[in-house]
Amino acid sequence: MQCSKCGNPKVIIKKEQSGQLLCKDCFIESIEKKAIKTVRKEKLLDKGDKVLVALSGGKDSVTTLEILNTFREMHIIDLCAVTVDEGIANYRQEGVDIAIRHAERLGIEHKVVSLKEEYGITLDEIMQRDNHKGSCTYCGVFRRTIINKAAREMGATKIATGHNLDDEVQGIMMNYLEGNTDNLTKLGAKTESKAKEFTVKIKPLREIPEREIGLYVVAKDLEVHFDSCPYAMQSFRGEVSEVINQLAEKHPTIKYSTLRGYDKIKGALKEEFKKDYSHGRCVRCGEPSANELCKACSFLEELGL
């Protein structure tokens, strides 16, 4: 058994979808090339961009930072990062510390924003309330608002997230199965909003399977936070993910074909279903919002904050 590219006998991966065998160096190169190919194909970066990486300290965001840093080293873009501290005891601090160390290692501008400082409450405290809506509901909305705000404050022209192939395919299937055509139009490598206050979001890792990102960080000895969020529960996303992974065992190319199929119909979906939201301002915080109150502020009001 030897590397299909260079003949090295120390193989670290057998790609199920192609049968290709790769050694450590050729595997690392293949992942970096693939992400760079996505960046070029989808025109995710423009020269002079300042890209804000949403950096949790987990494998996906650390890989995103590492790969985008190659563009920074070539003086194509500038890089900065934001880490959201949701206030989850015995979980988040390790990721925050790792994120700080990566930002220091690369010498990039980095900001840690906590829910406590921003909204006066931690996710743990919200979860002690009797009438809460579930942790992921608050976490998703507050995190998105904080990241958007940080992008504006830091002068970023793009926000890069660590969404991988598995995340994208789960998103496509979940929204399809739920008949959510509105959300289906919002997926993809690059999402832009008509409201200029919402920075363009890019996903350089969307064609790389989750397991390969995990293998990449271990192969490159990158420090990451491998742990499960204590609030992770049996969500619909989890159920969909399980079905897709079961199918992928017998049909190893199924994640790629789902993504390709979606990319082919995305244009038609947008044409047919894209809603033209009227963008006003949230009366409470001034952030762009389709309603009187933005989602984050409506949650805060419900929480009595």
């Binding site: 058994m1 120390k10 193989v11 670290i12 991966i13 057998k14 065998l21 450590k24 494998k59 989750e210 397991r211 995990g214 293998l215 960080v217 271990v218 192969a219 491998f226 742990d227 499960s228 969020c229 609030y231 992770a232 529960m233 969500s235 989890g238 992974n245």
Partner: protein, 67 residues
């Protein structure tokens, strides 16, 4: 014939039950999915088809968590 297994906080000596006992067999015995784990044999990344040898140190790193 035994090897050392390292997984999370666990470090234990285990018997090699048969010839050609691979990391894939070990993952099956531990009811772990190869999709969520990467494996190291004596500190070096290897594929799951790798046969475990006497006195090997096999480290399993969980890279995918739910949620």
């Amino acid at each position: 014939m035994s090897f050392v297994l390292k997984y999370k906080n666990l470090e234990e000596e285990r018997e090699i039950p048969n010839e050609n006992y691979s990391i894939k067999d070990l993952l099956n015995d531990l009811e772990l999915s190869a999709q969520t784990i990467v494996s190291k044999q004596n500190g070096e990344l290897v594929i799951e088809d790798t046969v475990i040898q006497e006195d090997d140190e096999i480290q399993l790193v969980q890279i995918i968590y739910g949620g």
